[in-house]
């Protein structure tokens, strides 16, 4: 056992001596988590905060519809409305050019007479209803058909994100329906006043009568609210953790290239002891890395007005998940480091495979948004298992028993990758350690 501890000491000394490398191991992931969380938070939560998406509005209608749409888009706090550029009113041509050049993301053209068409349609409809009540038989109004329709043109920058396009269209539909309803109500009042001069329109309460209350069932604590922080911080922390493949394989290949491994191979010590020492030391690095990233999520992100990370209260569960996730990352690194012959091979394969496993694991795009085939593949990514485990702990107040399936899968992944490394070494190298 003391050979193992001696190998651990050697690994620790090598790590500590490379101070710049060590700082990068800890600092870079923290910077990455902070910046990516900031970027993603801004991307997603701009839907509910500062208006940031520029919209060119060409209101040829100059009536209720144009005014209401403008009012609605402004009120959404998502879109910033421009009706003129450099003091010049925007017209169709300018809007089209500006969007095509990517200077603005969205352009809305409300054609002339749009409000008139709606008004006419509503009046006809109300007249038909009212006259239908008064004259149920042989009513000539019932045969009137209004075929006019409004065609609001919307130009989209081809580079705009689908989510924003979707949000914009929803806002537009919501406001056009609201305007139509208001006009119907107003027309009814007018018609009723014609029929009954003593009629006084009621003061309508326009407040919504249907409310939505968001509840996130989370065991004992229902205060943990899903946010981009809750998803992104563990996701990016795991992504960074699996990037340990680069320094780890670098250390293994350097040891081979420098000849120290040749000397070790002639000594009465097993390869297993040597790489388990490496795994143990790097596991501590991974755990510290992860804790630092969680602390960044907890204390640094709120400084940028981003929701703080909530980690729940199952600290033992979190520690267990951190350890098994580290082991999975390190097992993968050991396998890559054993099979790769050069730094270039290890780095290229390591980076690409970690990116693929991350994408596949639903760390960038949630698994439920993936196509069916990808969803079933996602279930095979160790990053997915680890992420699910952390989300369960952070948001669902999971117990250790609840996360055992994820722990088991990650441990299996570690055992399988280590076995691959040992098997490869046994087959490719005649050393029978």
């Amino acid at each position: 056992m003391f050979k193992f501890f001696s190998a651990c000491r050697k690994e620790s000394l090598i790590l500590v001596r490379d101070l710049a490398g060590l700082i990068m191991l800890f600092l870079m992931p923290m910077i990455m988590v902070t910046i990516l969380a900031l970027v993603q938070e801004q991307g997603w939560s701009s839907l509910s905060r500062d208006p940031s998406i520029p919209v060119l509005l060409v209101d040829e209608d100059q009536d209720t519809l144009g005014a209401k749409i403008q009012e609605g888009l402004k009120g959404s706090n998502v879109f910033k409305i421009y009706t003129s550029i450099d003091g010049k009113p925007v017209n169709r041509e300018i809007a089209k050019q500006k969007i095509a050049k990517g200077e603005y993301n969205i352009g809305v053209i409300i054609p002339k007479g749009s409000t008139g068409i709606i008004r006419h349609k509503v009046q006809v409809m109300v007249t038909q209803i009212v006259s239908g009540i008064m004259m149920p038989v042989d009513n000539p109004f019932l045969d009137i058909k209004v075929n006019d329709s409004i065609n609001i043109l919307i130009y989209f920058d081809p580079g705009i994100k689908g989510t924003f396009k979707y949000a914009f269209m929803s806002t537009m539909k919501e406001y056009s329906m609201f305007i139509e309803s208001s006009m119907i109500f107003s027309s009814f009042n007018t018609e009723l006043r014609k029929m009954f001069p003593q009629y006084r329109p009621p003061k309508m309460d326009y407040r919504e009568s249907v409310f939505f209350t968001e509840i996130f069932p989370g065991g004992k604590d229902e205060k943990a609210i899903p946010s981009t922080t809750q998803h992104n911080v563990p996701a990016w922390a795991l992504f960074a953790m699996f990037f340990i493949v680069i320094p780890m394989t670098g250390s293994m290949i350097k040891e081979r290239d420098e000849g120290s491994m040749i000397r070790i191979n002639t000594m009465p010590v097993s390869y297993f002891t040597i790489f388990m020492a490496k795994v143990s030391v790097y596991a501590v690095v991974c755990v510290i890395q992860f804790i630092l990233m969680m602390l960044a999520g907890r204390y640094v992100l709120p400084l940028a007005n981003i929701p703080s990370l909530t980690v729940g209260s199952n600290y033992m569960g979190i520690l267990l998940m951190m350890v098994v996730s580290s082991l999975a990352a390190l097992g993968f690194a050991i396998a890559v480091g054993t099979i790769a012959r050069t730094h270039q091979q290890a780095a290229a394969f390591g980076v690409v495979s970690v990116v693929v496993l991350t994408a596949l694991g639903g760390l960038w795009v949630p698994v439920y948004l993936m196509p069916e085939a990808m969803r079933s593949l996602a279930l095979w990514s160790p990053l997915n298992w680890a992420h699910v485990g952390f989300i369960d702990l952070f948001l669902r107040q999971a117990t250790i028993a609840d996360i055992l399936p994820q722990v088991f899968k990650l441990l299996c992944f570690f055992v399988i990758t280590i076995s691959i490394a040992l098997l490869y070494r046994r087959v490719k190298s005649p050393l029978n350690n």
Binding site: L13, I14, E258, G259, I262, I264, T266, L431
Partner: protein, 250 residues
Amino acid sequence: MQGKAIIEIKDLVKIYKGSDEAAIKGISLDINQGEIFGLLGPNGAGKTTTISILCGLFNPTKGSARIDGMDILSNHNAIKKIIGVVPQDVALYPTLTSWENLTFFGNMYGLRGAHLREKIAEGFSVFGLEKHADKKIANCSGGIKRRVNLIAGLLHDPKIIFLDEPTVGIDVQSRVVILEYLKELNRKGTTVIYTSHYMEEAEKLCTRVAIIDRGKVISMGNPRELVAEHPEFKDLENIFLHLTGKDLRD
């Protein structure tokens, strides 16, 4: 001091994967206990391959070898305990100090505590490295690295020591110290197997030499006896050139 065969090599063949030609082609030889045995040959002759097989770094394609009565294929770990290896390249951790390197490698041989500290101090004293104990290997000169590299293979007092060109690229002073120490070790009973390109060095140091070329032993015996057998050549180097030719090797 010389006794029974401590290393017995029989029809040893090694063909590297992807190579058409065998690196060693049926080498057979015995090395007796207490010998300083030199494996001499031009580049690519098969010296390092032979030593690597005996140290357990490669398996032979064919043939067998026994070290201290133990088959090399089935007794890896037991053999590793009684051999010391000094690789051709400096096999040390550059960011660790000389002392830390030797402590680690000593631990890997199973040494620890005061005994290990004494062994390291002894090595430093013999090779004049006391001042360099706390210096990182990366900051040491080539001669110091070579000497630390040598100590690392000797810490556990091995019964047999394999040295692959231990004096390549070092100054005369370091070379003299290393060769003197090898003689001293041999006097204490250690069997030394050593490869070199320096014929004069081998002639002075070795009790027997085998000249290997293109994977075969082409001559073997006591250096002085070999010179005596070939009166037309004045020394081992001329015999070597006569046997292996003057063509440049890769």
